[in-house]
Structures are given as C-alpha cells and as structure tokens.
C-alpha cells in the first residue's frame, strides 16, 4: 500500500489502448452474433446479425458464402417414428428454418374429403356438420400419386378418391356410433346416378354418375395391395339413434393447407433454438450428484477428475 501511494498516476492516453484485432471478432461480439442469451426478463440478441457489412469496420466479412454454408451445415436425427420426427439442424439460420416450418404446415399437399353427396341423412347431426367432420378425417394414401382437380376438370380416377358411407340403426336396437372404419373405398368411382334432363335418352347406355372413371383404381399398381382407408379406424363421425340412417358418398381431392387446414399433413410442426448450458463455476462432488439427479432430461454428465473428485 505504501508503494501504491508513492507511484505516479499513469496518464491515460488512447494511443496506449491495444489495437482492435482485425480479422477476428472480439469474444463478446462473437457471443452476440451467434448466441441468443436468456436473461431474467427476456431473451436478448434474438435478431441475428445478417447484414453482410455489419462488422466491416473490423475487417470481417459477415457475408456467408454458399460453400461455407455447405461445409458447416449438419443434420442429426434424434427420433424417427412413423408418426413423428425430431431432428437438429446445425449451421442454419432461423429465417430458413421458419420457412421450412411454414411450408410443412401450409404448402404440402394431401388428400382430404371435399365434396359430400348426401342421399339420406335422418340423424341428428346436420348435413353440413357431417360433411365438415368427414373432411377432417385423415386418409392413408400417398398424395403424389394424384393430380390436382381444378374447376374445369372432370373428376376421374387420377384426381379423386370416392368413399361411401351407409349406416342405419334399426328400430329397437341401441344407439350406434359411426366410426371412420365405416367409410368404404369405391375403386370404381361414384355409384350415385346423375339425373339427366332428357328422360328420353338411351336406356341401354350406362347411367351417368358424378365421376368419370375410365378404369378401376384397383388396377393402379400402388393400390393393388394397399386399400385406401382412413388412417385411424376409430374416429367417431356421428352417432345414430334407433330408426335413423345415413347414406352418403364422399369425394376426396388433393389440396394444400393454405386453402383449408384439413389438407395440412402435419398435426403441427415447430422449431426451437438448440439450448447450450454454460456452468459459471466448477461444481464438484456431492453438489454435482445432486444437480445431475435434479434434471429430468438427464442433460448433465459427470466425469471423474481422476483424483477421486467428481466434476460436472
């Protein structure tokens, strides 16, 4: 302390400051550029610094070239089941990941029931409610095998799937529940006959129906072994009391989620940033065991320091 009082106070001059390192970001700036930090009240640094000239004064080229992206980009699949999937994308920006998510939800085509021709509905469920529920039933078929149906097209075997539902509950029998396995696939097209204006038309010609199938869909190779059925056979469509009947024909066409959510192929899709946990101080021994057991997802792992101490 005595020496401190004897020293002269150094004059502060800006020429003495260390040079800003050119060509490499300072560590706090690198942290700001590449990580989103979760503070107590809100996350900070959420907007990614995309502008190519952002660090120009330090001589760093922030523009990401395609070759650098191709080298650094990795995909790791965590989980892959028939119905769901989770994977990590490392080296991609949130803008592109969000575009993928939006496309998954809204712009992938599937098949769903669009037009319902109701011949007889004496149940308590209204026609339009029944049609709405039928539209939401997912169908187990590959939409890439079908074409889109526009207004000028005629419904044929390349763009329509026809289902039939005919259920009735006899008088005196208990209430029955109509589940989605009651939908039967008609590979030969519609069976409902269109009413034509001139009754004097040829009675020998085939009656006109609502679809114009030139060949049975069963002959298409993909459908020979796999019948087209709803994906889940136990979706409740309606309930019938005694003496009620439902007879209808449903036509399914190809569409995308933007038009109506029934055509969205995913239940939902979401993304989040990969979390990185940085421990601010070394944790050893018993505290380490306690911390590891507290985490429900087993994020922590203990490595032995070799001296009998355990470090997290």
């Amino acid at each position: 302390m005595a020496e401190g009082a004897g020293e002269e106070k150094k004059k502060f001059s800006i020429w003495d400051l260390p040079d800003v390192p050119m060509g490499q970001l300072l560590p706090h700036l690198e942290l700001q550029r590449s990580r989103v930090s979760c503070n107590k009240d809100a996350p900070i640094h959420t907007e990614s610094i995309q502008y190519s000239g952002a660090y120009a004064s330090m001589g760093i080229n922030n523009s990401s070239r395609l070759d650098r992206f191709s080298n650094n980009f990795r995909v790791e699949v965590v989980r892959l089941n028939e119905d769901d999937m989770e994977f990590d994308m490392i080296g991609i920006d949130a803008a592109i990941a969000n575009s993928f998510r939006r496309i998954l939800i809204a712009e992938l085509p599937t098949m769903a029931i669009e037009k319902v021709f109701i011949a007889n509905n004496t149940s308590i469920i209204q026609d339009e409610v029944l049609a709405h529920r039928l539209g939401l039933v997912p169908i187990h078929v590959d939409p890439r095998l079908f074409y889109y149906l526009s207004e000028n097209d005629q419904p044929n075997e390349k763009n329509t799937i026809v289902f039939k539902l005919h259920v009735q509950c006899k008088r005196g029998s208990p209430r029955i529940t109509v589940k989605s396995d009651a939908l039967k696939w008609l590979p030969n097209g519609s069976e409902l006959v269109k009413e034509t204006r001139n009754a004097a038309s040829d009675s020998s010609s085939k009656p006109e129906t609502y679809t114009y199938f030139s060949c049975s869909q069963e002959t298409i190779p993909e459908f020979v072994k796999n019948l087209i059925i709803p994906k889940y056979p136990d979706i409740i469509i309606a309930k019938l009391g005694p003496g009620r009947e439902i007879e209808l024909e449903a036509h399914a066409v190809k569409g995308i989620g933007k038009t109506h959510a029934k055509w969205s192929p995913v239940a939902t899709a979401w993304y989040r940033m990969l979390p990185e946990v940085v421990l601010l101080e070394d944790i050893e021994d018993d505290l380490a065991e306690e911390l590891k057991s507290k985490c429900p997802v087993n994020v922590f792992d203990i490595e032995d320091l070799g001296k009998g101490e355990e470090q997290l």
Binding site: Q50, Y51, S52, G53, N61, S63, S64, L66, F69, S70, F73, R74, V75, E76, V77, L80, F87, M89, I92, D93, A95, I96, N98, S99, F100, R102, I103, A106, E107
Partner: protein, 117 residues
Amino acid sequence: MEHGSFTDNSAATFSLTDEDHTIANAVRFTLNQDPRVTFCGYSIPHPSEARVNIRVQTTGDPAREVLKDACQNLMLMCRHVRSTFDKAVEDFRASNAVKAMKIDSQDSSGDDSEESE
C-alpha cells in the same frame, strides 16, 4: 412487378403477388448475405391481401440481378439442405437397424455371462 426509377437501376421495390412471410423472410435473409446489398427489407402492405413488397438497394449493380442471384442462392441452399437431410435420415435408419441387431446379440451373450457368474 417492379417499382423503380428508370435512370437508377440499383434501387428497386419488387411486389410479389400470392406470397407471404414464407418466401419473403427467406429471400431477405439471402439478400442480406450478399455483399453488394446496402439495404434490403420486406413488408406486407395488408395482411388480408397476399402481396409482399421487397425493397433492394445495392452498391451499383442492377437490383433485379441481385434479387435473381439471391433467389438462386436460396434454391441451392435448399437443395443442399435436402440432400443432407436425406442422408441423415438414411444413416439414422441404418444405425437403428444395426443397434437393434446389437441389442439382440447382447441379450443372448448377457444371459450367458449371468449364468457363468
């Protein structure tokens, strides 16, 4: 549709119909990565109308060329993502199949070791 000055090619606003944030944000990201761009952004004039305005200002190059290059880059990026993803799924499926076989053989050898102990 493009609104720009006839004399100055380097700044222009492109109005895309039937588009939304999906493509606009991705194009804005790739535009930003281009060192020739001084300013770029997108806006949606009204949410009920499917229209996006993308504004590009460059350091002298014609704005439409820069936009075209950005779209091309985006396409190449997506292509690369697709191939990497396909490969990752294949590897995952293959390693899962191997794991299933390993677990089967481990079970049978584990029984043997238990008996010997």
